[in-house]
Subunit: 360 residues, 2 copies
DNA sequence: TTGAAAGCGCTACCAG
DNA sequence: CTGGTAGCGCTTTCAA
């Protein structure tokens, strides 16, 4: 494509008969410029629709007003809903987002990137973003690979980084880890209250923090309820519908006996219900289900899905605010509490209401 | 946050006892450098993990290896699946993506940005992206606002731009417009074949190209089948589940009589089915449905959703390839044909197979 | 094959 | 209040 001309500050200076420095001053506001010169300059800027080159600016000011976001898969509602909120806050503060999908994990997803996460880290450094947000991916593995850890360490040495996930030893960045299992506990209590005693756990990748957290909460809650943990009632896989389908089929094929199950999220719940339906079992008539992580369409599902609202919007806002504060050198505000709630709809065969409890 | 040190080319030059120019040469490969110097430099680069500052590079080379993507809402599966494919191709070609959600339209969506699309355009120019991809938003309105048009025009004067949508008069960028209604036609033919004569059209924002295109195809197809177009069978709204719910309720409340409907996409289909179900009408027993635009989970829906696979992945690849070619000044390859297909599953009460036909 | 040096467009400092 | 100017980190002539 033919080079397209950009107007520069130098030209604006010439056209308005002032020095470059003066133009720069009116551009940046704060310092004093005589009203007439200011006016002259502003007119020329207007006329030529001039706007300063962010690259040149960034080269000097050491900030690009750009934030890097690294996550596994934006087509997953969990991540996209977070991203939207993140963008909104970022925009308010004048930041733009560089988005990278690592497609880490996502075995059930057709698309696959060849790049390692460290590749994205380096890119962030090269492009001089002001900070990086890491949501999921390898950070979420219960055992992080050494390679990855080293790459992350290098990144953290160069830039402010906030990761959503559990603290990793020896890595000096901000970790925000909202998961505490509370919500799983209240889901189980609810099922117990309805009379369920054999409750399965479906979906989620093994060795991923979020899965293990919820699984542990599941086990502990069962014990607290005086129920025994039956490993044959646990069927992990991944986070998509297809995985819910597979996981449930595994459960079925091993003749597991249960009257309710927890799904790691709405997508998985959907797939799992399908698998049940294919065996002529219906939700909620034969089996009850609660999803641990509410996506957007559960309200329109048949039956309407009882699920836990993890308030990703709040988490997103917390996370981006924290990063921006870190970038700007402000102290971070005290961590606020994110309340999750069990949203009771129809998939357990009742319709009672909503109950709240605190998390983080 | 405290300034973190970056190693520069100057330091690398000093450390390896060569000139900056030489380091630059080994960095960029092509030119000849004596083997020993090259080796020395490479070692130092390795050791300090040096990687050149993309800002400084961009300032000179006039390219940032960054592409801007402007779309309304990444949490909409239509856009996120496209984005994933776009990113993959971009990555292969060495480009990074700046993503902006304009949240244009999306009345049914909680989040709302305050910025106009022209704001994003200017940002793209400021950040010196190499090209811009515009997918949906105001460009998709059948009547584009003059303001918007002017802003787009300015953008196009500065950068290579590819938009997915119908050509806009007087705007000199590349338009790729895949929609041709073929798929709607074959969906209607299929419904006709199954015996349906009263077929409704549900969802989609009015005055948006994609809606109008499909609606026109719907009307034309009905006529070709010798059926009359009944406006009371058309209920538009927007593209989300909630909108399908609303649109279907409108249909119901006006006592429309129909035995099948076309939904603008899977989300809308979902919401519409819910509305029917709430009135004790079931899909497919009482009403058949075909979705015009397949998302990912239709396969697990109960009943499995019969829908049209628009092959967004191919479109995405076409679009990003076109943009990159434009950026690099290569001629664009001849437009290839994207085949859409009616994927017959269960929501029309039969299970026949798959039929293909061409589009674009 | 190599180094010196001239900028890319901008900010920020220094003098006046 | 204003203009001159030294860079930011890099690429790319131009001589040597």
């Amino acid at each position: 494509m033919a080079e397209k001309e950009h107007i520069t500050i130098t030209q604006i200076a010439e056209l308005s008969n002032v020095s470059i420095a003066t133009v720069s001053r009116v551009l940046n506001g704060n310092v004093s410029v005589s009203p007439d010169k200011r006016k002259r300059v502003e007119e020329v800027i207007q006329k030529y629709n001039f706007s300063p080159n962010a690259l040149a600016r960034g080269l000097i000011s050491k900030q690009t007003k750009t934030i890097g976001v690294i996550l596994p898969d934006i087509s997953n509602p969990y991540f996209s809903s977070m991203f939207l909120e993140i963008e909104r806050s970022a925009l308010e503060a004048g930041y733009t987002l560089l988005l990278c999908n690592t497609l880490f994990g996502g075995s059930s997803h057709g698309i696959r990137n060849t790049k390692e996460e460290s590749y994205y880290f380096q890119m962030m450094i090269d492009k001089q973003v002001d900070g990086v947000l890491i949501i999921g991916g390898q950070v979420d593995l219960t055992a992080v690979e050494e390679n990855y850890k080293q790459a992350l360490k290098r990144l953290v040495e160069q830039l402010p980084v906030v990761v959503i996930g559990k603290e990793i030893e020896d890595i000096d960045c901000i970790f925000i880890h909202p998961e505490n299992g509370q919500s799983v506990t209240s889901a189980l209590n609810y099922l117990y209250m309805l009379g369920h005693r054999k409750i399965a756990f479906v979906g989620g990748q093994p060795n991923v923090t979020i899965t293990e957290d919820r699984l542990n909460a599941y086990k502990k809650a069962l014990q607290n309820l005086g129920l025994t943990v039956d490993d044959s009632l646990i069927s992990l896989s991944d986070y998509y519908s297809q995985d819910g389908y597979t996981a449930m089929n595994n459960l079925i094929s091993r003749n597991a006996s249960f009257t309710a199950f927890l799904a790691i999220n709405d997508n998985v719940a959907l797939g799992a219900e399908r698998a049940l339906y294919d065996q002529s079992m219906k939700v909620p008539d034969d089996i009850a289900v609660i999803s641990c992580d509410q996506f957007l369409t559960g309200e329109y599902h048949i039956p309407r899905l009882t699920s836990i609202n993890q308030h990703h919007d709040l988490l997103a806002r917390l996370v981006i605010t924290t990063l921006i504060n870190a970038i700007q050198g402000n102290a971070n505000p005290p961590k606020f509490t994110i309340t999750t709630e069990l949203v009771i709809r129809e998939s357990c065969g009742t319709h009672l209401g909503i109950r709240n409890h605190a998390a983080i």
